[in-house]
């Protein structure tokens, strides 16, 4: 329990940083296959956004686009060491910062 109550700083910090890197942020569906990025914000409302976040797509999480399906949709992304399929319309609500 030693680290349990460690003061943690969630969204605030990342959001601050985001202001300065406006140009480097894109939505997840715009990334090219193989690109590494970090989640900045999940903009959707309601059940889908909540589900995505419950599954680990929260601000600060590293993501990588693995591929897109034969017909261009859905996308496969790697997040927190597992693979997730989601449609472009959902990916659009996730904004990310590109990592080198």
């Amino acid at each position: 329990m030693s680290i349990a109550y460690a003061a943690l700083n969630p969204t605030a910090n990342i959001l601050d940083r985001a202001e300065t890197f406006e140009t480097a942020t894109v939505s997840l569906d715009r990334l090219r296959v193989g690109a590494h990025a970090r989640v900045l914000a999940v903009k959707g409302e309601g059940a889908v956004a909540r589900r995505l976040m419950e599954m680990g797509v929260v601000p600060g999480a590293p993501v990588r686009v693995v591929k897109c399906a034969p017909l261009g949709d859905p996308l496969e992304v790697r997040v927190r060491n597992y693979h997730l399929a989601l449609r472009r319309s959902e990916a659009q609500t996730i904004s990310v910062v590109l990592e080198s």
Binding site: M1, S2, I3, A4, Y5, A6, A7, L8, N9, P10, T11, A12, A41, V42, K43, A47, V48, A49, R50, R51, L52, M53, E54, M55, G56, V58, P59, G60, A61, V66, K67, A69, P70, L71, G72, D73, P74, E76, R80, N81, Y82, H83, L84, A85, L86, R87, S89, E90
Partner: protein, 742 residues
């Protein structure tokens, strides 16, 4: 790997009560965890039961219960296996079931005394999200780290002891397949009984914490209640508090429109710290085996090719590999029938056994090898992890008709049987999407149709080849499957644009890593399905066979008044003496069926025969005669029944001299009153089309009734599918005749 640590602050909630209560009722232990985390594998290992295990999320969709012998000298516990959840904020029916059981809100299930949080060790962070929520229920929690073998192979070093310290509960590494860590898990569960778990352990932003504090006052319990009130969907019932909560939400929303995300993010921040402290993994950026396989399997071009190839191989195998054992079984039942006749005095009982029971049940059991093969392949695909990939490949098409990507897996299961398929729709969140999926699931050609297809093809298309090498039979079967799929797509589109109108649903689907299929799982799946099939043959089919035999045997034909005399004996005499009464029906049957006149007259006169004649005008435009009509009526109980019914019909009405021709030959030789063959290739195709599209399965109707909680949908389903089946069969037969194929 010993994690003998004690819970940090073992506050006992019910000091004596816990023990005393245990004496009167068994301990209730529930397995909770993410989908595909290995809950059912663990459940099977602990209870010795054989629930279905497969490598895709959403296998278990109901609560299952088993007995777990915790320790030799103790009373065994009731162990509950639950559907997987990503969080306690449930969105679909299967999740709701798990949620209700875990929180003690399920009517017929006591609240669990201990929750075993099943955590996939290779996927720690996402799995721990649910654990943080489980800890907050304040029920005793023990963490079972599954897939530990895989974690070790991936060189992930997990410090089980540190992890337990950080979480404040005991953590036990287990590997269900190798039965590793099971005793330790039992000990951990026993020592966790009555121990309250530490609660909320993460912090929000200072601003949000202020709001929480404002609402909570002092004390940990107040904080938890305040967090729940502010961040859950529901508002508290108390008016004053509701007012305060609403104001707090408004203030938070003004600062940050995504204010509701804070607890989610904060939990993950906390989890990241926990994981950092206890996992030392060589997180290689080298692409995993799964990714390398997927380079082909979900490739832009190769992906669909692989999908088609997989389906092709499965069909090919089912139809070519199964022939030999099927022939053997067929001959076995033939011999059995002859043996019965030879060793029993001729009479009604012998007839019942030979014509009713053996012909009826045997006619269906012949298809066991095909069923086994089908389920062998399905189990292989399911346990390898391919199912989710197929869903990934097909999602774009599914969305085109307005269906959920997740609908693909229930529909795929429906190729085995619509019942598990319909149950699997529980994973679909939106009720309208779920209903649309249920409505089209029976169009997928299930294993019960295989006997019908096989019979028709064996009788009329077995030798035929197209261009010299493409088997017409295989092509026909494929078209039947495609016909079902096409109609399903059209119906789904119509439903989703009319009565079940809703925006295209989202897709968020986990793609699990590929695993080498576990042969034990595969064998188990085959055994379960084979047993169901045999059981059905032994119950439903047997009952209907006897019933039909009786309906075909009584009342006795009028010119044959001797009460004990039975049909075949009469026919025998007739053929021996050559003075068979030439009833109008046997006029054309000059060749092999010389002596069958009386027998078929008996069939005509019987209750079943009369019934068949009543519906004959309705089904004549489809190319069916009254005998097929009897089969059709019977098949509304279960599709395979048509095979057993035809067996009985052609047995009761057959020429007794013929050396028990197989059903296939009987079908080929069957005649109409005018002497023309009853079956033609066109009739066979028309019959197959009818069977693709009609809902002839009582069990499916019952399941739809249960899953939709009303009679409206199942009745609607039976009706509209019947209309479609009739129309399609009509077009097939009449169209074929116009083209000169009849």
């Amino acid at each position: 790997m010993s994690s003998t640590l004690e819970s940090p602050s073992p506050r006992t909630t019910e000091p004596a009560g816990g023990q005393a209560e245990q004496a009167v009722r068994p301990l209730v232990v529930a397995l909770a965890g993410n989908p595909n985390a290995g809950k059912t594998s663990l459940f099977n290992a602990l209870t010795g039961l054989r629930q279905k295990v497969a490598n895709y999320p959403g296998v278990t969709v109901e609560r299952k219960e088993g007995v777990w012998a915790l320790a030799p000298d103790l009373r065994p516990a009731r162990l509950l296996d639950l559907p997987g959840l990503y969080s306690l904020d449930a969105t679909s029916i299967d999740e709701q079931i798990a949620h209700d059981v875990l929180t003690g809100r399920m009517a017929d299930t006591p609240a669990p005394d201990v929750i075993v949080a099943v955590v996939d060790a290779t996927n720690l962070e996402r799995n721990l999200y649910l654990v943080t929520q489980l800890l907050e229920t304040n029920r005793p929690v023990v963490v079972a780290l599954t897939m530990f073998d895989l974690a070790e192979r991936a060189k992930l070093e997990i410090d089980v002891k540190r992890l337990g310290e950080s979480l404040g509960v005991r953590v036990v590494a287990v590997t269900a397949r190798q039965r590793r860590g099971l005793d330790e898990l039992a000990h951990a569960v026993l020592s966790a009984v009555g121990v309250e778990t530490p609660g909320v352990c993460w912090r929000l932003s200072p601003r949000a914490e202020e709001e929480v504090l404002l609402l909570a006052g002092d004390g940990a319990a107040g904080r938890e209640a305040a967090l729940r009130d502010i961040y859950s969907d529901e508002l508290p019932p108390d008016a004053a508090r509701r007012e305060a909560v609403e104001q707090a939400r408004q203030r938070l929303a003004r600062l940050n429109p995504q204010w509701w995300q804070e607890p989610l993010t904060a939990r993950y921040r906390w989890i990241e710290r926990v994981a950092e402290g206890s996992v030392r993994g060589t997180q290689t950026e080298r692409p995993s085996t799964t990714e390398r396989i997927d380079r082909v399997v979900t490739h832009r071009l190769f992906g669909p090719v692989v999908l088609l190839l997989v389906m092709g191989v499965v069909f090919q195998a089912i139809f070519s590999w199964a022939t030999l054992p099927m022939d053997l079984i067929d001959r076995g039942f033939g011999a059995l029938a002859e043996l019965t006749r030879a060793h029993m005095p001729p009479g009604l009982l012998t007839d019942l056994l030979a014509d009713g029971v053996i012909a009826g049940v045997g006619g269906v059991l012949v298809f066991l090898p095909q069923i086994l093969l089908l389920f062998f392949f399905i189990a292989l695909l399911e346990d390898s992890g391919y199912m989710s990939r197929a869903a990934f490949l097909m999602d774009r098409l599914m969305r085109g008709v307005g269906l959920h990507g997740k609908a693909f897996m229930p529909l795929l299961s429906s190729f085995a049987c619509a019942i598990p398929g319909i149950m699997a729709t529980r994973t679909i969140e939106n009720p309208k999407d779920r209903l649309a999926t249920i409505m089209i699931a029976p169009f997928m050609s299930c294993s019960a149709r295989l006997p019908v297809y096989t019979l028709m093809i064996a009788a009329f298309f077995s030798e035929k080849k197209l261009f010299g090498f493409v088997s017409v039979g295989a092509l026909l079967i494929l078209s039947m499957y495609l016909l079902g799929i096409t109609v399903a797509i059209v119906v789904a589109w119509i439903l989703k644009h009319t009565i079940l109108k809703a925006p295209p649903p989202p897709l968020v689907l986990e793609l699990p890593p590929y695993r080498v299929p576990n042969l034990v799982n595969v064998a188990q799946a085959m055994r379960t399905r084979a047993w169901l099939f045999v059981k059905r043959a032994g119950t439903v089919i047997l009952t209907i066979s006897i019933l039909l035999w009786a309906l075909m045997t009584f009342p006795r034909a009028s010119h044959n008044p001797a009460p004990g005399a039975q049909v075949v004996a009469a026919a025998q005499t007739a053929s021996q003496t050559g003075i068979g009464p030439t009833g109008e029906t046997s006029q054309g049957a000059g060749q092999a069926q010389g002596g069958a006149g009386e027998a078929s007259e008996q069939l005509q006169q019987s209750f079943a025969g009369r019934l068949g004649h009543v519906i004959e005008p309705v089904i004549a435009p489809l190319g069916f005669d009254w005998k097929m009509g009897i089969g059709l009526i019977a098949s509304f109980a279960a599709r395979e029944t048509i095979v057993s019914t035809l067996s009985i019909i052609y047995n009761v009405g057959k020429d007794a001299d013929a050396s028990s021709p197989s059903l296939i030959e009987a079908v080929r030789n069957a005649k109409r009153p005018d002497g023309s063959p009853a079956w033609t290739p066109l009739v066979a195709v028309s019959m197959m089309v009818f069977f693709v599209l009609a809902l002839q399965c009582m069990s499916t109707v019952a399941v739809v009734r249960r899953e939709t909680n009303s009679w409206r949908w199942p009745l609607f389903m039976v009706a509209y599918m019947l209309v479609i089946a009739y129309a399609a069969s009509f077009v097939t037969y009449q169209g074929g005749r116009l083209l000169g194929l009849g």
